[in-house]
Symmetry: C2
Subunit: 315 residues, 2 copies
């Protein structure tokens, strides 16, 4: 990176971004003091995430293109979880001067490709040096329906899930043990496939609360429970455990349900709907919402606190 220099790198990044994903309604793109964007309808929705080498990714577990895809995906998913549509992203990139410029440019390419997959564009960024690779992403979107918050779940609602759950945690677990297969799980970790269209559909179907599963299914269910002042009971039998996850669990003596309940790397969506709602396609009922118990909001599995392991811990 030092060879290209800050401004050289910015020029190359801007060229990739323009080529891959120019974005719509971008009146001024990267290269000025700020980008200028046209909001045609609805409210602006914004979320931000920091992705740090060694904490959120390892360069030996995923290549730069994958890291770019993941960084964009986890942010786009936050807009999806409000019922909005992601349109524009900015990316701040800090790395050691010795990092090959190729790595940075590959990251940007993966990032821009993930954005393009939902019709979003990269509209700005910043480049600086740091000891560890650090990626700061902000996503802007629009929401033309009432945003679905974490706080709207009501006792009696059903809890539903959309998207893979546990796959990426299984892949992370495999990598953490030094293996590279089952490949389908490793790939799920390296490049998650969040259900990008499901958030808006759920909002229109009357979802009362919704969250992007990123801290782990139980942890994120607890965020909804606390914000809504309710308890949530998940039904373990409702989760379809994918075959490769069963295989990994069998080979290592782990409980496959732990990956499903603990995983947050697939960026599935968890939502609550009024009882009797015809769930939108691709959504599966996985539990129920109840009034909080005497100890306040809680999340249980099959009526009891979950005592099992929630997969291998992160690095």
């Amino acid at each position: 990176m030092a060879d290209l220099g800050e401004f050289g790198l910015i020029d190359r990044v801007a060229a990739i971004v323009r080529e891959v994903a120019p974005g719509e309604d971008v009146l001024v793109g990267p290269g000025d003091d700020a980008a200028v964007l046209r909001v045609r309808k609805g409210h602006v929705v914004v979320s931000t995430d920091l992705v740090v080498e060694g904490r959120h990714f390892r360069t030996d577990w995923a290549d730069a293109v994958d890291v770019g895809h993941r960084a964009a995906a986890q942010n786009i998913s936050d807009i999806n979880a409000m019922g909005g549509r992601a349109l524009w992203l900015t990316v701040g990139f800090a790395a050691p001067p010795t990092l090959p410029a190729r790595w940075a440019l590959d990251l940007v390419r993966g990032f821009a490709e993930e954005c393009a997959s939902v019709g979003a564009g990269v509209v700005g960024g910043d480049v600086t040096s740091a000891d560890k690779i650090t990626i700061a992403v902000t996503v802007l979107g629009v929401c033309t329906v009432s945003p679905v918050l974490r706080s709207g779940a009501q006792a009696g609602d059903v809890v539903a899930l959309c998207g893979r759950q546990g796959w990426a945690a299984g892949g992370l677990g495999v990598l953490g043990r030094g293996f590279r297969s089952p490949r389908v799980l490793v790939d799920a970790y390296r490049r998650p496939e969040p259900p990008y269209d499901a958030g808006g559909v759920a909002a229109e179907a009357g979802a009362t609360a919704m969250i992007d599963v990123s801290d782990g299914l139980l942890a994120d269910a607890a965020h909804v429970a606390r914000a809504s002042g309710v308890s949530i009971d998940l039904r373990s039998a409702s989760f379809e455990i994918p075959e490769p996850l069963l295989a990994v669990a069998g080979a290592t003596g782990a409980d496959p349900l732990g990956f499903v309940l603990g995983g947050g790397e697939d960026h599935s969506l968890l939502a609550t709907f009024p009882a009797g709602t015809a769930l939108p396609e691709a959504w599966t009922e996985v539990g129920v919402v109840a009034a909080p118990g005497p100890d306040g909001p809680a999340v249980t599995v099959d009526g009891a606190p979950y005592e099992g392991s929630t997969g291998w811990t992160h690095f």
Copy 2:
């Protein structure tokens, strides 16, 4: 920070943010998957910056409150430089788990106070761990006039400056030599006072190009020159060198003009206006725009390339 934990810290941060600067037109603030914002009029303007310990600040040269003010100021200034008004900011914060939570909360307080000074609010963020303190800021604003780009300068335009220029670079130079005075310069570095209202006023007065001076006056003039395909000549006699800067230069044998031409820490605004424009209050004419020479766009001082020092280099 490790004692408070990620979610404990987020709760404390959110409380500070709500108390200091709730922001207007914030339909959903911090704490959900994303913030939701109402854009009443105009286009959305967005910019992002990474601020890294050891590169952009040192904890022994500025306290956490000052670092927060600076981080917000440099971003708000980017919106100002488009002719827009900053309304909402997000802040991603990464730091070693051993960092006292007090430091992080002071930073957030300074950040939120700077935002409040322009009527902007902090609407979201992220907290994670990293080896070095890293602050990722994104600012959103609205622009109700035509945004003023870097690329609009025309031969024959006058070049004008608004805001202090060289003060903060002088303060940084003083700190770099192990001193703490003149205090007024050190303070100017620690907590810049960008001319926040000047961008919109310049846009309405017909500015043809504008930029936030953050890389240094000569460097940023060069950004405008290249983007516009013009040359810029600055007139050294037009810069009023502040008394304390003269004192520092006198004591160290430095050329005080070097701080003015090389400094980027004051976040002044540089703009071009059609010749004959009555410059808005607080703007000073400092040069002229000319057609590019045979070697292309260039920036000169008093008709010649500037060969002098541009202040002490950064750490």
